[in-house]
């Protein structure tokens, strides 16, 4: 267990400090800045590896815990740790950041320094979100990553970047404010920000419902669940490639992570009574998101909407409230991060060459960039859940879990898989097949650096597809513990519920 250094603090603060240090470097030293950022991100990833190798899969207790008083007057602590639910996201964040640094190497040409500073700050904050065990600390990280993300979209984005950035910011902020209210309320009630202590709090049903709505506002926007999803297509479309990748791979996972970390264990009764409603929204997201994809002419917008559909699977799995659903949901989050991240990387590769996101500007690309076409095919297939690749494992477990919870929803969700094949293969056909579009004749083939990022992700696509147990095994105990908490309605809370119902 002991690895000789405080793993979590290191992986949170190494990128943050790295980012701050970059600020002191002259902006003309561009390549130094790039190499510095790459070095920091790689180092962070390497230093995060003990989370993978030294993780104890037999306990649901928090591991790699660090705990220091921060603002003792309010009981606020710097309290971090991981369990089977959060650990994989930290590793994913560290991995994805490296790829983002690489992919931005040539495509970001202005304000290079500021860009890499923002990127590293985001990394630290993202990891902080997943590691925090203090609600206050969590909120700080949660909000802290909004600002660099806002900048990345608003400064380095496409033509409508300012609109998209503000929309992203306001949407998320409104949700977050309600979460802040919930946090304050919980603090006043329990006199602690400690998340694990809050898990043991037996709140009356009615309170749980109010808190549920407040937290739902924050998390549902992030996921994003239908119908609060409309910031996502704009943000994804306008963001630079690295921004889209981070959004897709990590940022939107925080919403679903919030469900697992806060709502399920703290508000079990409310979760159970609200689950059918959320399952309903999830199914709508799956089908609605898929159908909207059929209408898109913009490459990035299409993939953005496919995220809505795929995240619908994630929330469906979570609110199925059984082991397969939740494990499938977590795995699907990882999968979606890898696959959609990879798809955005792919789009970035051709966008750098053509500066067009219009699907109709492509066609016949397979003849011109065959290796690239092969990678894109692999990720397309993973996205539509081909068995043997990662997407299938997640979707299958989710549908299995959903079927246990509510049969009809599983049947409806499964139609999403048909739609998924429809829009992805149609997209692939329009870009890669048919006659070569004159506009793309003579594009240079993929470079090794570009291929490298895709190879890394491709390895995970196949690895998870043929041996998902490497990753599922992290979750078993923690998920089982979480479900125990949800399903064990203690007599006291039952009494409170009854008394409230009688009382009002």
């Amino acid at each position: 267990m002991d690895v000789g250094y405080p793993v979590l603090s290191v992986v949170i603060f190494l990128p943050i400090i790295g980012g701050i240090l970059l600020a002191f470097i002259g902006r003309h030293l561009e390549s130094f800045i790039k190499w510095g950022a790459l070095l920091v991100s790689i180092l962070t990833f390497i230093l995060s590896l003990p989370l993978f190798t030294n993780f104890d899969k037999t306990t649901h207790l928090m591991q790699f815990v660090e705990r220091k008083d921060w603002i003792p007057q309010f009981g606020i602590q710097y309290y971090v740790g991981v369990d089977g639910i959060s650990v994989l996201f930290i590793l994913l964040s560290a991995l994805i950041t490296i790829l983002c640094v690489l992919i931005s190497w040539n495509s970001i040409k202005e304000k290079v320094k500021e860009f890499y500073i923002s990127l590293l700050l985001i990394e630290g904050a993202m990891i902080g979100v997943f590691a925090s065990l203090d609600f206050f600390l969590f909120y700080i990280f949660w909000e802290a990553m909004l600002i660099p993300m806002y900048l990345i979209i608003g400064v380095w984005g496409g033509p409508r970047r300012v609109y998209a950035a503000i929309k992203f910011f306001l949407y998320t902020l409104i949700g977050s404010v309600l979460m802040l209210v919930a946090i304050v309320y919980l603090y006043l009630k329990a006199d602690t920000f400690n998340i694990l202590e809050l898990h043991t709090l037996a709140l009356p049903y009615k309170t749980q419902i109010w808190l549920f709505w407040a937290l739902l506002a924050a998390f549902a926007v992030k996921v994003p669940m239908w119908p609060v999803h409309t910031w996502l297509p704009d943000a994804h479309t306008e963001a630079p490639t690295a921004g889209s990748v981070i959004l897709a791979a990590i940022l939107i996972k925080m919403g679903a992570y919030g469900f697992l970390r806060f709502m399920l264990p703290m508000l079990p009764e409310a979760t159970k009574s609200m689950a059918p409603f959320l399952i309903g929204l999830s199914v709508i997201a799956i089908i609605y998101g898929g159908i909207v994809c059929l209408a898109q002419n913009d490459l990035k917008r299409l993939i953005a909407y496919s995220s809505v559909s795929h995240m619908g699977f994630v929330t469906l799995g979570i609110f199925a409230l059984n082991p397969q659903g939740i494990e499938g949901g977590i795995l699907q989050m990882i999968n979606h991060g890898i696959v959609t991240g990879a798809l955005f990387l792919c789009v970035g590769i051709i966008y750098d060459r053509t500066h067009s996101r219009q699907i109709s500007d492509y066609g016949g690309l397979a003849s011109i960039m065959p290796v690239y076409a092969g990678f894109f095919m692999l990720f397309t297939l993973a996205s539509i859940g081909l068995p043997g690749l990662n997407g299938f494992i997640g979707e299958f477990l989710i549908i299995l879990g959903a079927f246990k919870a509510k049969k009809l929803t599983a049947v409806l969700a499964a139609t999403g898989i048909i739609i998924g094949a429809g829009y992805m293969l149609w997209l692939y056909q329009r870009i890669f097949f048919n006659e070569v579009n004159e506009k793309i004749r003579g594009l240079e083939p993929m470079q090794f650096k570009e291929a490298l990022t895709l190879i890394l992700l491709a390895i995970f696509v196949i690895w998870i597809g043929i041996y998902p147990n490497t990753f599922l095994s992290f979750m078993h105990v923690s998920v089982a513990h979480l479900l125990d908490k949800v399903h064990q309605a203690t007599p006291e809370t039952m009494v409170t519920i009854n008394s409230i119902r009688g009382g009002f």
Binding site: V292, L294, A295, P323, L386, F396, L400, F433, H476, A480
Partner: protein, 642 residues
């Protein structure tokens, strides 16, 4: 028998070598890794068959694939009699198609890619037939579908090819939707997805039923029908047959291997594999039999009028697959698999002969532009003629034995069986007719193509004709292992499969009835050929006149009953309309975005209105203050009074 693990993995290695090194290093030598790999699999499959014949069967797990709480499933192999037969069919046809492709695909710019896909396909198909659980079956099922997609769209610059590939994948997804749900219900019912425990316990649930919105349906029937949905998609049965004719856009060796001999028969294999489930549901069995019978006849009628040589064979394939389901549906799984096995050889042969013809005709597909090719390409002619005799059910050839067994079993089963027997017999008449229509239009009469084409006519090189000759042996002799008792044989094939697929027992069916069904099927086969001779050799004006006098029927058949148009109308266009005009343009952009953008606008508007009060004119402030005071005064007074 652990060597069996290499049967699927050798082609996988071939695939990996070709996908990495094919384009840059191997290039025109790219057939070596793939062909050697599949040859290795063929040798190992023969060894496996030998072991199984000697009573050694095997069921083992390689590793745990997915574990989540009580859900666990592994990757593992089941090698029993049924698997052994499938292994031989898959590896032998695949090997011959590999060899043939060396000649057929020579000079194609995608040569290494082609062999990579062939290897991937062979791997996937072998994983499918060797699976020991439903999820691995599903894996193989989807993976062969992927290869089919990739190979149909192999010449992706052609719009029609890339459309056809996409269509095949998506249509199959409709079937797999049911299949997937079936797999999930199997798990939730039995707590496992492995064949042996599921089949062992299926009798325990025979009385259970589930209530679907007030409709009481037997659980076994539900499972069987859901699984059958997958089979209908993969094996191109009604109403999901529409993808297979379009799949002919792929290179012809692919049509022979995937869309005739192996992948499309996966549905039949699956039904046979799940016979313990299907056997317990009369309803499901009847559905299988009727769907099979109707498809056999339906596809045969379309084949009567098509002019595209590959499409005729494609519809013929759909029709023959219908026979196999028909057999399964009446409980004669052994007969279904027997036909699967003989059909693999004669149908692969038909396709490869068609490929040979196309090779000579520079890619021409329209039979109206052929004719008289007999003297230019004798090997192709004679092998194709023998394949056609075989599919027409001429005694002694492979197709005769398997088709006869199916038709007799259907007849003997009674009930629904009698009905499908009539469908099958009628389809047999049409089969013989369209098969010989194809032969006569292509090889007899005068050449109707251009002078340039005529100039280039030639027999294919040995690398292509040798596989034709070898397959021809299969088309003649593969049926000899299943000669029925009534003809003095002992039906070794059925006996061999009996541990897996038990024989149906027919009571009250006499020998004379067996002779009658056999005689009838031979009679209709010969009749079909004779009519074809009359129409296309003796008096070619007859078909023209028939098409004129029955122009409505002709048009319906020519347009394949307008099924594609129908699906376009009720599925494709409405979905795209809803996507573009309703959900994207209206719901998302108007309603949801309207609200989202409306809120800030509302805030802004309110602010703008309120700002008007802050106009700096003292008189206004005075009025507002006075009004306010007045209100307070009134309020206080009212309070005081009440």
């Amino acid at each position: 028998m652990e060597y069996t693990v290499w049967i699927p993995f050798l082609p996988l290695i071939g695939f990996i070598i070709n996908i990495i090194f094919g384009k840059k290093i191997l290039r025109t030598q790219a057939h070596w890794p793939s062909t050697l790999a599949v040859f290795g699999s063929l040798v190992l499959s023969i060894m496996a068959l030998w072991d199984v014949i000697n009573g050694k069967t095997l069921n083992y797990d390689l590793y745990n694939w997915i574990i989540s709480d009580n859900f666990r499933v592994s990757v593992g192999f089941l090698v029993d009699q049924l698997t052994a037969v499938m292994l031989i069919v898959v590896t032998s046809v695949s090997f011959l198609v590999h060899v043939y492709s060396i000649g057929y695909m020579h000079g194609d710019s995608g040569y290494p890619r082609f062999f990579a896909y062939l290897s991937l396909f062979t791997f996937s198909m072998l994983m499918l037939v060797m699976a020991n659980n439903f999820l691995q079956l599903y894996f193989g099922w989807e993976a062969v579908g992927l290869c089919s997609y990739l190979l149909i769209g192999f010449w992706y610059e052609k719009r029609s090819a890339s459309d056809a590939g996409k269509k095949a994948f998506i249509v199959n997804r409709f079937g797999d939707f049911g299949f997937g749900l079936g797999v999930i219900i199997i798990f939730l019912t039995f707590g496992t997805l492995h064949y042996v425990p599921v089949f062992g316990r299926v009798e325990e649930i025979v009385t259970q039923s589930v209530n679907i919105y007030g409709l009481e349906i037997n659980l076994v029937t539900l499972i069987a029908l859901l699984l059958f949905c997958g089979a209908v998609g993969k094996s191109a049965q009604l109403p999901l047959h529409v993808w297979l004719p379009d799949a002919m856009e792929g290179p012809t060796p692919v049509s022979a291997l995937i869309h005739a001999a192996t992948m499309v028969t996966a549905g039949v294999f699956m039904v046979a594999r799940c016979s313990p489930i299907f056997d317990l549901s009369h309803t499901a069995m009847n559905v299988v039999a009727v769907v099979g019978g109707l498809t056999a006849l339906f596809a045969a009628t379309i084949a009567l009028v098509q002019n595209d040589i590959k499409r005729v064979i494609a519809y013929s394939t759909i029709s023959q697959l219908g026979y196999m389901f028909l057999a399964c549906g009446v409980g004669a799984y052994g007969a279904g698999i027997f036909h699967l096995y003989t059909h693999a050889y004669f149908k692969a042969l038909l396709f490869l002969c068609a490929g040979s013809v196309m090779h000579a005709m520079a890619g021409e597909l329209d039979m109206q532009k052929m004719g008289g090719l007999k003297k230019y390409m004798p090997i192709t002619y004679w092998t194709m003629l023998i394949a056609s005799l075989s599919i027409s059910g001429i005694p002694g050839l492979a197709g005769f034995f398997s088709k006869d067994e199916i038709l007799f079993s259907a007849y003997a089963a009674g009930g629904v069986g009698r009905f499908v027997w009539m469908l099958g017999t009628l389809a047999a008449l049409l089969t013989a007719f369209y098969s010989f229509r194809l032969i006569f239009l292509t090889f007899h009469g005068d050449f109707r193509g251009t002078e340039e084409q005529k100039h280039h006519l030639h027999e294919s090189p040995p690398v292509m004709t040798v596989p034709l000759l070898l397959l021809c042996i299969g088309a003649v002799a593969s049926g000899w292992v299943g000669i029925p008792k009534i003809l003095g044989g002992s039906n070794h094939f059925g006996e061999f499969l009996s541990p897996v697929l038990h024989h149906p027992h027919y009571e009250g069916v006499t020998h004379s009835e067996e002779w009658m069904t056999m005689g009838l099927s031979v009679f209709v086969g010969v009749t079909g050929i004779l009519v074809a001779i009359l129409f296309y050799i003796k008096n070619p004006s007859i078909p023209v006149r028939l098409a004129q006098s029955f122009s409505f029927i002709y048009r319906v058949l020519w347009n394949k009953y307008y099924v594609d148009e129908f699906y376009n109308l009720i599925v494709v266009r409405p979905v795209l309309f809803i996507a573009k005009s309703i959900i994207d343009a209206f719901t998302d952009r108007k309603i949801i975005e309207g609200i989202v953008n409306g809120l800030p606008a509302l805030v802004g508007w309110t602010g703008a209105q309120l700002r008007k009060t802050q106009n700096g004119i003292l008189q206004h402030y005075g009025i507002i203050m006075a009004t306010g005071l007045l209100f307070i005064l009134v309020f206080v007074l009212i309070r005081a009074i009440t």
